[in-house]
Amino acid sequence: MASVELEPALSPATPPSSRGRLLREIFGSLIRMLSLLLTIALAVTVGVWSSRYMISRGSPLSTDMYGPWQHWRDVGRDSADPYTKAHVSTTGKLRISSASAGIFEARTDSQGARLHSSCNYVVEGANMRGLWWSLAVFDSRGKLISNDADRYEFTADTIAPNPNGSFVVTLGRDARPGNWLPTGGAGRLVLVLTVLDPATGLSSEERAERNKHLPIIKREGCS
């Protein structure tokens, strides 16, 4: 019976330095492979996260900011960018085209702090002559905030304006005189201001002028 002599992977004749170099190469390859896998995993995560963020929250590519008010520039239009289209189709919002109305969302006050139901706010708006508008408050998921007063929004028709046509709306848990919108227990808040263009339309200059005079949102205090 013939005997087969198996040669060991590392023969005793291999010098210790070569063995060490081989081990280092194997270890180095493993590290490189792991780095590559980690890089790809991180890139996939960042790619998905950045896409979702830009779709849900917007970015300068698709939105304009006017103080605290965010405006999706091409919402409802055929020419809308993919982020805007994805925003509309995934959030379930029914938005009038930006060619026919200005729809503005605020998640922060004018100082940049998150709107929250534990705080009281004052929203001061200028006279929007001849334009129909509404200001509604929602929780962060777009749900109306239940309240005994059945108040969820004010419009150009239902607001009690100041003598000069400007208006003040207060947001807070406790009832207040005037145009008060209850927000108790909602957590983070989202204000939505809708301003319809007149039937004759608005020029881009008129639209820019309108956007300059959007309401300011002041925090009064938190509890």
Binding site: G47, R77, A101
Partner: protein
């Protein structure tokens, strides 16, 4: 400097390339995913080619997120596969609007009333492919006794949503608003 020398720029290039490809892919996948769109959400509860006045929007009845009770709504889920759809609505005052939306939320048509005079809307929605068939100005509906539809007042769309919006002016006006809203119609033979 030593740190820069040891930094593997190939990994940075791979990171940027993969992140960019995934970002673009994820965005376009989401664009085409209309399962959560307003149309898809309303499709469960609305009949086709019929104008339906919804109950007033309230916390316990809010069919869509960020839909405010600043208006009373009438919806019509249309499908022009079998027949063109004729839409009629009266927009009597400032704040009244009518919009036609594609399933992905694109505004195909929009009209708002002016404060000076009431606006009557009478338009037809024809199958999207008809637009490319070189139809004449007026399209006679097959087997219909209706006058031909003026093609200039027609919109090409296969499916979508008609939304008539009556602004809420407060309790005293709600009856009148609902009565005007009830005149809005949407259907093949209406």
């Amino acid at each position: 400097m030593k740190l820069l020398q040891r930094f593997d720029f190939r990994l940075l290039a791979i990171f940027l390339l993969v992140a960019g490809i995934v970002h673009i892919g994820a965005t376009f996948l989401t664009v085409n995913d209309t399962r959560a769109s307003a149309y898809a959400r309303l499709a469960h509860s609305l009949p086709q080619n019929t104008m339906v006045i919804t109950d007033p929007i309230a916390p316990n009845h809010q069919p869509l997120p960020f839909l405010a009770p600043d208006a009373r709504f009438a919806f019509c889920l249309f499908d022009t596969t079998d027949t063109p759809i004729r839409v009629r609505a009266l927009l009597p005052d400032l704040g009244w609007t009518i919009g036609i939306y594609a399933p992905d939320g694109q505004n195909l048509y929009f009209a708002a009333a002016s404060a000076e005079r009431e606006t009557t809307i009478d338009l037809s929605i024809v199958p999207a492919d008809d637009r490319f068939l070189g139809l004449p100005q007026a399209v006679a509906l097959p087997g219909s006794t209706l006058p031909p539809i003026d093609h200039q007042n027609s919109i090409a769309a296969q499916k979508g949503l008609v939304v008539v919006r009556a602004p809420d002016k407060g309790e005293p006006y709600r009856g009148d608003e609902k009565a005007v809203l009830a005149k809005a119609s949407c259907g093949s033979g209406s």
